[in-house]
Structure formats: structure tokens, C-alpha cells
């Protein structure tokens, strides 16, 4: 399932709210939680991480992965946390509205 514009950012922020992770950990977490239904390419995810860091929503530090590789770990900044809260609320609202509209049965059904 392709992602709606802007939702990838929120999903990344949400993932990182569980703690600092490097790029693949984030993807793995997302794939696991969505049972593989979310269609995000790896290149797009890394670019999204860079973008979010540039906006000050994430910060990054080099560290070592569990398999001993040099990995870039991302964590939420306080701005990122606030952003996540606001965007989540907005998205939930939107999804709720969509759900209401789309699940209303029409008269002749």
C-alpha cells in the first residue's frame, strides 16, 4: 500500500518514540508493525531521516549496531516529540473523518 503524502514522517517519528534506532531498525519496526503492508523504499526512508534531522525533529549520533557495524542512530528531539503529538492528532482526526464517511451505509444498500 503506497503511503499518503506526509504520513511517512509521522510514522518515522512514531517509531523513534520507542527510542533511538538506526535506519534499518526503523524500517524493520515499521514492517513488523504493519505486517509488511506499508510500501516504503529504503532509499526514501533514509532521505526522510535526513530531512527530519535538517528540520530539527531528529538528532543523530554515530554508534555501533548490534551486529557490530558503524550505524547512524536517530532519536527524537523535543521539537520532534511535540511535532509527533500534533501531527498524530491531526492524522487521527483525518482518518476518523474518512472512516465515518466511508462506512456510512447508503439507503438503498
Amino acid at each position: 500500500m503506497a503511503l499518503l503524502k506526509g504520513t511517512l514522517d509521522v510514522l518515522v517519528l512514531k517509531t523513534l518514540s520507542w527510542g533511538p534506532m538506526h535506519g534499518f531498525e526503523i524500517t524493520a519496526w515499521l514492517e513488523q508493525r504493519s505486517s509488511g503492508r506499508l510500501d516504503v523504499t529504503d532509499a526514501a526512508l533514509i532521505q526522510a531521516l535526513h530531512r527530519l534531522e535538517a528540520r530539527g525533529l531528529l538528532s543523530a549520533e554515530w554508534g555501533e549496531s548490534k551486529n557490530g557495524r558503524r550505524a547512524r542512530y536517530y532519536k527524537l528531539t523535543s521539537t520532534g516529540k511535540a511535532h509527533l503529538r500534533i501531527e498524530t492528532a491531526a492524522l487521527m482526526d483525518y482518518v476518523g473523518a474518512l472512516t465515518t464517511v466511508l462506512t456510512t451505509r447508503s439507503a438503498h444498500e
Binding site: 535506519g23 529504503d42 532509499a43 533514509i46 535526513h50 534531522e53 530539527g56 554508534g63 551486529n67 547512524r72
Partner: protein
């Protein structure tokens, strides 16, 4: 970083990093990191898939597929986003740090109010002065003249002499230029022998004198000036011997006609004849400021290109407009061929030998070097300002060593501290620039209103966008420059030393003291150079006033009493008019002497060729003399000095021999080594020399007088102007009213709006020199004050630092006087080094401004001695206060404070 926990708990350290150190990631480093990140991602996924049971080859293929792009493309995309990220973060950090620096600087500056205010004042004065001078130079040298496509305008002088008859051309010359196709798209001219106040306007029974400039029909269209009301002259209006239309200047329209929008078509009475107003010129067209600085021009009339006007000789100042693509050099080459033909076509008329120069070069020709001089002066002032500020900041930096050391210990890098210092200095200069801008606005406004100063384009002096840009650039540059010294010194600061040393007693490093001494010495040296420069100009000015003037302008009033045209038409009627006018004037109580002349000194520019009788030169090379027509008694009324023979007399009339009175230069030129009295000169006719007077300088005081001659009015019929010159004990305004009342029976329309004293005439003539001299003296005074301030600062700082030493010496028995004397001696040493360097600099400066000097040599000993005395005195004064303070040091207190 391998320790994972420290990495993950890096929040605080990250903050510290952000606060004090800018990350310096090079693009290569960022790209390599992005590559690492991508590889780790791929490898982690492969491991993950293998752990789920895929073969390594399958896992690798799947991982590459999930990347979503060929590996090369993905690598590039990720590298780009990483580079973009670094750039954004760096910019934001830079802005955040700047904000912090500015906030911190504002806080510290606010705490040290005395320092901040004096620093702001110094910068404001420096920048205000610089921006004002810049605006003057901008108006004169850079901004286009207020005409359409002004770069195509060319001043066509008919010769190289400064005399007007030698700058102007004859009617047939301009006609010839109109007939032949040349590089000129058009050539126009104005009548150069107009006299200020020549036109008498009688309205509502009251007379005022106006200045009217006759111009050729195409004059305004050639310049590209469009009347705001009505129109320009038509060819019909510009033909024939009598014209009856005028165009008003905007200011006259406002002043005398209350900006009446329906003025066009109405008639006014000028010099007794009716004239129809056909147009009003726009407010930005100021003839005077471009062509006749210091003259207020009121209206324009047509100058017909007729045979009769041609016979008047050289009368027209010519201005040409080049065709697109044509050059002055091209036009010059063309005219070199054409001009001799024009001359040959009328052998009976004056020669045409055009010299072309760009309009702008013509306008600024006399003040160009003065402006350059001012620019250098203001540059020197700005350097002194920077040196002074540098010194102030150095003192402050030393006082703040502990604060800096603490910040450094807390993790602020040297770069960051230097930046902090530079932020402070740039902030200071920005604040100073804001105040300086206000000063410059006031300064330029004052200059643009100097109507009586004989300098072109002054009314155009204002702060425009170029001046604003100049101020901003200057303030930034100055801020960086004077912030540099303390910042450099700071970077040598040894943190632990500063922390260990106790605040006040700490010995200052030698580098700092040397830098401060060098700054003060250069300040003194620059001030010396400015003092000598302005001193030489002041001396020139004084010389000009008392040496060159060979008449006494005190208590002499001049006003126009031109009779009606019918009186002027008859020699006999004119003679009796003048006799009667002089008789009535002399009868006024308080009047000591009175005479008439056709022009006052220092302005009226009318020349004729003259030669000694029997002399055979080629007609062209006859010397040119300034001519005056006058009544008897002019020598007494003006206070001129007769050196031989007699003044003109009442008996020098048409029944007697034609005579002339000449000046010394003319006597020496025509009859070198001989007694000129009784010799005959060929002027308009053969005239016998009856008297010789000192040179009166009919053009300007700082130019050589040239040949001058005085013709008795009873022997010539060429009297366009009648100027009454009266020496009296009565103030000129009162006197003018009495004269008007006394002359009422014969001259009912004497105007009082142009009454002037000869003092006014002299003032106006020397006004450019006074203007530049005053400005430069102001700069020199400012520089001297700054030097005083600088010396005072350094000496009192040294004294403060040597408190203990002084205390010890006083405890050991040194008297207050020995302490004082030592400090004064140190101060003097400083001053002497500055003066030695400054004298050398002054010598160079004096040579550079040689062309501006008058009657003073560039090595004038008096000026140099005065400079040395003044600077020494200033040094002693500025050393005295700290010295006195030092001598009052209480040894016990000095010890305790350590």
C-alpha cells in the same frame, strides 16, 4: 564513538557542542558518512533476511530490490540529502549563535554605559562626516546631471582662457554647426553675459530685480527639460530683434506668483516692456546649480540667432549633444577640420577654436581636487575613529580577561570568543552608524541649503540609496577593523594564566601594550597630518582675504539703479541721469563717497582684446582685458589704491580726449619697464592712460587678476548695467531705503531685493574655499579631540595598572611631583613619536594639496610649528589628569588592593 550508552545519552553533550562549537563537516566527510549509512542499512537487511532463512545471494538481491532504486542512484540521492541536511543545520546553528552573541553583546554593552555612549558618539561622528562628504562627492561626481542622457552633453568652449569672451562663441558659429552634419545631434547655447539682477520686474507698484538668462530656442529641448506648465519657445518667438515671451523658473513661479496654475498666457512688465509668460520649468531644473553656482536664476527669454546678435561678438556659451555612438574625441577631430573653415567664412568676425569637454567635467572642473582632498581627509578621520575604538576595546578586553577565561573554560572555543568580540564591535558600529545617519541627514540638508556658496550641484546633495549602502558598508568594515585588534589579542590569551592572575594587579601582556601604543601613535600622526592640511588651508584663506583684495569692502553698499531704456539711448540724457543720481546720493547723511560702475569686482566677466598703440601683433594674440565702465570717484567709493596718475574725472567726457585708467598688470604687460602714464592703448578706440590702480581681481581672488581697465562712462555708449557703489557709515539696508527715497524723482523703480555690500560680494567669491576650509578644519578638530581621548585612555590605563609600582615608589619617598613628572614624560615620549611620524605624513599631505594653497608654501614653517605646539599641548593636557590621579595614590590602599 563505540560506547553505545554514551552515544545514546549524548543529549547534554550535544547541547554543549551546539552552544560552543560549530561542527566543521566537510562535504567529503558528509558524503563518506552517507555512504556508510547506506552500506550499513543494506548489510543489516541482508543479515536480517539470512537470519530468516534466505541464502546470502537471494538476501542480497532482495535487499537491493527493497532499496527502490539502482544502487548508484540511491547512493547519490542519499548523499545529496545528507549534504542538504548539513547545510541547513549549519545555517540554523550559525543564526542561533548569532542571536546569542547579539543578545550577549547588547547585555554587556548595556552594563558598561559610559563606554558604550562614548564609543557610539565617536563612530557616529566619524560615519556622519564620511557619509556627508560621500553625498557631496556623489552629487558632484557620480550622480547624473539632471538632464536627459547627460553623458552625451558636451561643453563647447571657444578657447582655453577663463575669460568669458574666450569661452563663448559667436552667433554665426552655432549657425554653422547647425548647418553641417557633425557628431552633434544638436547644439544650443545661452547668453553668457547676463547679469544677475539685470531684469527689473514691476508688479503692484513695487520693483524687484530678477536674473534673466537669454537662451537659444532649442536650449530646453536639447537638454531634455520639459516645462511643467505651458511650453518652450517657438522658432517664431526666437526671431527678430525684440522678443516678448519668457519662461519662469519653478522657484520664481512659487515665490512671486504663488504657484498660480493659470499663469501661462499672462503678461508681466520686465524692464518696462510687456512680456508674455509661455511656460514654467520643472522644480528639478536648476540652471544656477549647474551653469552658474551661487546664482539664483529666475526666468529665461529667447536669444534670437540674428545678424544683430552676431555683431555683438562672442556672447554664447555653447552646449552640444552628441549623436548616439559619437565620442568627444571624434567630435574634436571633426571640429579641428571644420572650425578653421567656419572662421575663414567670416574673416571679419571672431575666430572659432572649439575645445570640447564633457558637461560633467566642465561643471566640477574647479572643485575636483578639493573633493578628492576632502575624501582623503574623511578617510583619515575614519582611520582615527577605528584606532580610537580599537584602543577602547583593547582596554575593555583586558578588563574582561577573567570573563573570557571563564567562558573558555566552559567550553567556548577561541573562534567563538573572537566572534563574540567582533559581534560586539559590529554592533557598536551599527548603532553608531544609525546615529551617524541622522547626523549625515542633518549635514546634507544643511549643505543643500547653502545658497550663497559658489559650488555647483549643492542643492542636489542628499542621502540616497548609494549613501545608505556606503554607510552600511563603512559601518561593517569599521566594526571589523576596530574589533580586529582586541579579537586578535584575545586569541593569544592563555586561559589558565588569566584565571590564575587576580583581576587588577595582573600584569598585562606586552603585545597588548605595544599594540595600544602603536594605535595611539598612529592616531597622533594622522591628527598631525589633518592639522597641517587644514592649517595650510586656513592660512591660504586668510592670505586670500588680506593680500589679494586691493579695495576696502567694509561699509560699501551696492545696488542697481538702471534707468529706463530711453534714458540709456542718449549719451547726454544718461550723463545727466548719472550726475543727478550721484548728487542726490551724496546728499544723504552719512554718505562719504559714491560712484557708478557697470559691474562689481569678483564676478563680472567681460573682456576685450587690447594692445599698446603702435604695437603690431597678429590680431588673435592680443592680450585680453577685463573692462569696466565707471564714473569718476570709483577709486574713492571702492577704496581702490591709485599707484600713479589720477582717477577718472568729470571732465573725461565726449568733448575731451578719450582716456582710460588701467591696473598694474596691464601696465606691466603693455609697457614693461616704462611709465604707462600718457601712453596710448588701443581699446575700443585709442585711449590715453591717465591712472594706474592696484589689481582688483575681476574674476576671483585666487586667480591672477589679469589685465583690467576702467573707461569713463561719458566717453562710451555701452552701458547695460548701472551699479551704484556707495561708501557710508550707515548700515546697508537703511542706506538702501534712503537712496531709494532720494532717487525717487528720477528713478521711481529702484528695487531693494538685490542690495548687497562689497563684503557680501567677497564672501560669495571665497565661499567655496571657505566651505572646504571649514569642513577640513572641523575634521582636524575632531581628529585632535580623538587623539586627546586616545592619549588620555592609554595613559590612565597604564597608571591604573602601575598603581602598585607607583605606591611602592611613593612609599620609598618619591614625591607627588616626581610621580607626576614621570607620567607626563612618558606621555610626551608617546606624543613625540606620533609627531615625528605625523610630520613626515604632513609633509606628504602638504605636497598633495599644493594646488589648493594660496600664498602659502606647502612647507610653511608656521603651520608645522603650530601643529607641533598644539599636539604637544594636547598630549600634556591629556596626560595631566591621569598623572594627577597617580600622584594622589595612597600607598596603603595600593598595596591592599592587590
Amino acid at each position: 564513538m563505540s560506547d553505545e550508552s554514551s552515544t545514546r545519552a549524548g543529549g547534554i553533550r550535544e547541547g554543549v557542542r551546539r552552544l560552543f562549537r560549530a561542527p566543521l563537516h566537510t562535504t567529503d566527510r558528509v558524503a563518506a558518512d552517507a555512504n556508510d549509512e547506506l552500506r550499513t542499512f543494506l548489510d543489516e537487511r541482508i543479515d536480517h533476511l539470512v537470519a530468516r532463512g534466505m541464502s546470502p545471494a537471494e538476501a542480497r538481491a532482495e535487499a537491493l530490490r527493497r532499496m527502490g532504486a539502482p544502487l548508484g542512484d540511491a547512493r547519490e540521492m542519499i548523499r545529496d540529502s545528507a549534504v542538504a541536511r548539513e547545510r541547513t543545520i549549519r545555517t540554523r546553528q550559525w543564526l542561533e549563535e548569532l542571536e546569542q552573541d547579539v543578545r550577549y553583546a547588547v547585555r554587556t554593552l548595556g552594563r558598561d554605559r559610559a563606554f558604550t555612549i562614548s564609543a557610539l558618539a565617536i563612530i557616529a561622528l566619524g560615519i556622519g562626516a564620511s557619509a556627508t562628504v560621500f553625498s557631496v562627492a556623489n552629487a558632484l561626481l557620480v550622480r547624473p546631471l539632471p538632464f536627459r542622457d547627460p553623458d552625451a552633453l558636451v561643453w563647447v568652449a571657444n578657447g582655453t582662457h577663463e575669460g568669458l569672451s574666450d569661452q563663448t562663441a559667436q552667433v554665426n558659429h552655432i549657425q554653422a554647426l547647425h548647418e553641417v552634419k557633425t557628431s552633434f545631434a544638436d547644439v544650443a547655447g545661452y547668453f553668457a553675459f547676463y547679469g544677475p539682477g539685470d531684469a527689473s520686474l514691476v508688479r503692484n507698484g513695487d520693483a524687484i530685480r530678477l536674473t534673466d538668462i537669454p537662451v537659444t530656442q532649442n536650449f530646453f529641448s536639447m537638454l531634455g527639460v520639459q516645462p511643467v506648465l505651458g511650453r518652450s519657445f517657438t522658432p517664431e518667438e526666437s526671431s527678430g530683434d525684440v522678443t516678448n515671451v519668457v519662461i519662469l523658473s519653478y522657484s520664481l513661479w512659487q515665490r512671486e506668483f504663488a504657484s498660480d496654475p493659470s499663469i501661462v498666457g499672462t503678461s508681466i512688465t520686465l524692464n518696462g516692456s510687456p512680456q508674455t509668460i509661455v511656460g514654467v520649468l520643472p522644480s528639478n531644473f536648476d540652471f544656477g546649480s549647474v551653469f552658474a553656482p551661487g546664482t539664483r536664476v529666475d526666468l529665461f527669454s529667447p536669444f534670437p540667432l540674428t545678424e544683430r546678435n552676431d555683431q555683438q561678438g562672442n556672447t554664447l556659451a555653447l552646449i552640444g549633444r552628441l549623436r548616439p555612438g559619437a565620442t568627444i574625441d571624434g567630435a574634436t577631430a571633426e571640429l579641428a577640420v571644420l572650425a578653421p573653415r567656419i572662421t575663414a567664412a567670416h574673416p571679419d568676425r571672431n575666430a572659432f577654436s572649439p575645445h570640447l569637454s564633457s558637461m560633467r567635467a566642465h561643471v566640477v572642473r574647479q572643485i575636483h581636487s578639493a573633493l578628492v582632498m576632502l575624501a582623503f581627509a574623511v578617510g583619515a578621520v575614519m582611520l582615527i575613529v577605528c584606532a580610537n575604538l580599537s584602543n577602547l576595546l583593547l582596554v575593555r578586553a583586558t578588563a574582561r580577561r577573567k570573563e573570557m577565561a571563564i567562558r573558555a573554560a566552559l567550553g567556548a572555543g577561541r573562534r567563538r570568543l573572537v566572534r563574540q568580540m567582533l559581534t560586539e564591535s559590529v554592533l557598536l558600529s551599527a548603532g553608531g552608524a544609525a546615529v551617524g545617519l541622522v547626523l549625515a541627514l542633518v549635514g546634507t540638508r544643511a549643505i543643500s541649503r547653502l545658497q550663497s556658496v559658489n559650488l555647483p550641484m549643492l542643492s542636489d546633495v542628499r542621502i540616497d540609496s548609494a549613501a545608505l549602502a556606503f554607510i552600511i558598508a563603512l559601518a561593517t568594515l569599521a566594526g571589523l577593523l576596530f574589533g580586529m585588534a582586541p579579537a586578535l589579542q584575545l586569541s593569544e590569551l592563555a586561559v589558565h594564566d588569566a584565571l590564575k592572575a587576580s583581576g587588577r594587579g595582573s600584569t598585562e601582556n606586552r603585545g597588548g601594550r605595544r599594540m595600544r601604543t602603536a594605535l595611539v601613535v598612529s592616531e597622533i600622526a594622522l591628527a598631525c597630518a589633518l592639522l597641517v592640511g587644514s592649517g595650510l588651508l586656513v592660512r591660504s584663506f586668510l592670505k586670500l582675504l588680506d593680500v589679494a583684495l586691493s579695495f576696502r569692502p567694509e561699509m560699501v553698499t551696492a545696488l542697481r539703479i538702471d534707468p529706463d531704456n530711453d534714458v540709456l539711448a542718449s549719451q547726454a540724457r544718461f550723463a545727466s541721469y548719472v550726475d543727478e543720481a550721484l548728487r542726490l546720493t551724496k546728499a544723504i547723511p552719512g554718505v562719504q563717497a559714491a560712484a557708478i560702475t557697470d559691474g562689481l569686482p569678483l564676478g563680472k566677466n567681460r573682456t576685450w582684446g587690447v594692445k599698446a598703440d603702435g604695437e603690431t601683433r597678429k590680431d588673435m594674440n592680443n592680450p585680453v582685458a577685463y573692462i569696466r565702465l565707471s564714473s569718476d570717484g570709483l577709486v574713492g567709493a571702492m577704496g581702490m589704491q591709485l599707484v600713479a596718475g589720477r582717477d577718472l574725472a568729470a571732465t573725461d567726457d565726449s568733448a575731451h580726449e578719450r582716456v582710460v585708467m588701467i591696473n598694474e598688470t596691464m601696465a606691466h604687460t603693455l609697457w614693461p619697464g616704462q611709465d604707462p602714464i600718457g601712453k596710448v592703448a588701443m581699446i575700443d578706440t585709442a585711449r590715453r592712460v591717465v591712472g594706474v590702480v592696484r589689481d582688483v581681481h575681476h574674476l576671483s581672488l585666487d586667480q591672477a587678476a589679469g589685465l583690467e581697465l576702467y573707461i569713463p562712462y561719458r566717453q562710451i555708449m555701452d552701458y547695460p548695467i548701472v551699479e551704484l557703489v556707495v561708501r557710508s557709515t550707515v548700515p546697508s539696508t537703511t542706506l538702501a531705503k534712503s537712496i531709494r527715497a532720494a532717487l525717487a524723482p528720477i528713478a521711481p523703480n529702484v528695487a531693494l531685493n538685490q542690495v548687497q555690500t562689497l563684503g557680501d560680494v567677497v564672501d560669495r567669491s571665497v565661499s567655496p574655499r571657505r566651505f572646504f576650509t571649514l569642513l577640513l578644519s572641523g575634521f582636524a578638530a575632531f581628529a585632535l579631540a580623538l587623539a586627546l581621548f586616545g592619549i588620555y585612555g592609554v595613559v590612565s590605563y597604564t597608571v591604573a595598572h602601575q598603581q602598585q609600582e607607583i605606591g611602592v615608589r611613593m612609599a620609598l619617598g618619591a614625591s607627588q611631583r616626581t610621580v607626576q613628572r614621570k607620567i607626563l614624560r612618558d606621555t610626551l615620549e608617546l606624543a613625540i613619536v606620533g609627531i615625528v611620524v605625523g610630520t613626515a605624513a604632513s609633509w606628504i599631505v602638504a605636497r598633495l594639496i599644493r594646488s589648493q594653497l594660496f600664498g602659502v608654501s606647502s612647507t610653511d614653517p608656521a603651520t608645522f610649528v603650530a601643529m607641533i605646539v598644539i599636539v604637544t599641548a594636547v598630549a600634556l593636557v591629556s596626560g595631566y589628569l591621569p598623572a594627577r590621579r597617580a600622584s594622589r595614590i595612597d600607598p596603603t590602599v595600593a598595596f591592599r588592593s592587590s
